[in-house]
Symmetry: C2
Subunit: 332 residues, 2 copies
Amino acid sequence: MIKIAIDAMGGDYAPKEQVEGSMKAVKMIDDIELTLYGDETEIRKYLTDETRIHIVQSDGVISMGEKDPIGAIRGNRKSSMALALSSVRENENDAVVSSGATQALIAGAHILVGRMKQMKRTAIAPLIPNVKGTSTIILDAGGNLEIKPEFMVQQAYFATVYSKEVLGVENPRIGLLNIGTEPGKGRELDKEVSLLFEANDKINFVGNVEPKDILDPPCDILISDGFTMNIAMKTIEGTAKGMGKILKTELKKGILGKLGMLLSARNLKNFKYRMASDEIGGAMIYGLRGVVVKAQGSSKSNGFYNGIRQAATIVRNDVVNKVQAILESEVL
Amino acid sequence: MIKIAIDAMGGDYAPKEQVEGSMKAVKMIDDIELTLYGDETEIRKYLTDETRIHIVQSDGVISMGEKDPIGAIRGNRKSSMALALSSVRENENDAVVSSGATQALIAGAHILVGRMKQMKRTAIAPLIPNVKGTSTIILDAGGNLEIKPEFMVQQAYFATVYSKEVLGVENPRIGLLNIGTEPGKGRELDKEVSLLFEANDKINFVGNVEPKDILDPPCDILISDGFTMNIAMKTIEGTAKGMGKILKTELKKGILGKLGMLLSARNLKNFKYRMASDEIGGAMIYGLRGVVVKAQGSSKSNGFYNGIRQAATIVRNDVVNKVQAILESEVL
């Protein structure tokens, strides 16, 4: 049995969607067992089936808009997030799934789960949808605003193992997000990373990828420093939001337009659905001694279920130990 | 008369669209006189009205995909781009408009027009459409991949004068593109720039702006280093392109969907039109001793006309001298 800790109180719609997503997960996935950390009374309002689900009472909550993530974790050791994370360190569980505040989860994972010995920096790696209908690993989405090229090599190893083992990509291609496709483009960091990647036979480096191809990239993994990637991710969000607004005003114009929009309503909904990353699952925090998956804060039951499914696949395929083996082979 | 040099051979559809845009410009704007630099035979194929339009024969072309911009300019002093730029240095013209290769134009402007004495770095500043239907100045869109905070202050002065004088904004608000809105967010660069902007009473600093608000920003000018801004700009392009593809496949689904799309065709076209920046005009290169406007490489006549209109407004309102005065007052 794969044992997964659920932070039932983290997320915009907690605990309802977390509890419903958990029930769906045990129904759909045979080899998992879940422990829900949270307010038992609240959880029981939504829990209608306790098969392979346990509850552990928590005390205190990390708020979604937490400004002092480290302080929040240190001051709330009995919160649902902290208890779930600690249970992994204690080997009571194999993984944690949380849709709580991202920075608090990263800080908590560092303090309560701990970094892999050889891994110099952790990273957070979400999946984004692409035009082909598959998903692209985005790395690092905000962990390290400034980072050394060597540390990005380690992160690339992790993403390669993840892509193979969890997404089933045979020989995952890595692209460096950059302002031009030609070799030698970018800042000093980008130039150094390119050289390191090219010289490394464990990395299938396909070169620079321009952000104009970000939703249709020639690679399976797109990498940059945390600042740049965060800017790119939030720009996708902003453009989608802005375009949606403009599209809505334009489409509604005129009587024919209104009728057209009415007829297109279902398709427009499908469009929104494909753009939402809820279907894809969560972001894994790379480089920890355990498996921590961050589901979106706005996760509904289905998105949260996908996060659990993802965590189970990561554990089942022994991702952390496989990365560990690569890092150890480097040290020798 | 405002005298404007036209690089008639630069751009994906040159010289046709450049010539047609020029004829439109003299018809619409009374106080301008244009000199078209290019292949006279080619230009005359499209030139049907020579009112206030002169032609100067050029020799050699800077290709749009030029990989060695400095070499291209140095080796093609008689090209349409080089001749147009040189004419500004010689005071034969007040401004240049070109839709030629961006990097070659920036390099050429440095070599042939020259930097303002006090200005430490030039910058390229396009306008992008926003949800409100106006436009936002984006700075720097690729000139300086790595830059000192003090140099960004100078660029902020330039953008402020431009916004006031050319776009008519009374008290232009400047936002720093960053990964979070709270003060103290971002890299060392971002933190230092924030402090400098806040302490400067010539800059109306409104703080950090997240890229999720990039098409609906709470400011008139959005600033960052050239690398970051280039990533953001190209991510907007990539998201718009990717979303367009997904939208198209989704909208076409089913019979009702097809009918709906048919009825919405005109509105969808308007939508595309609003997203295209052709209507808005070109990007000014800030910090030169003259006025250089870069129209999009894919400019059609209307986009190119807008670039000329913009250049005329910049000259008419004496933007360069007004910035110069601010920089000189700083030195004292």
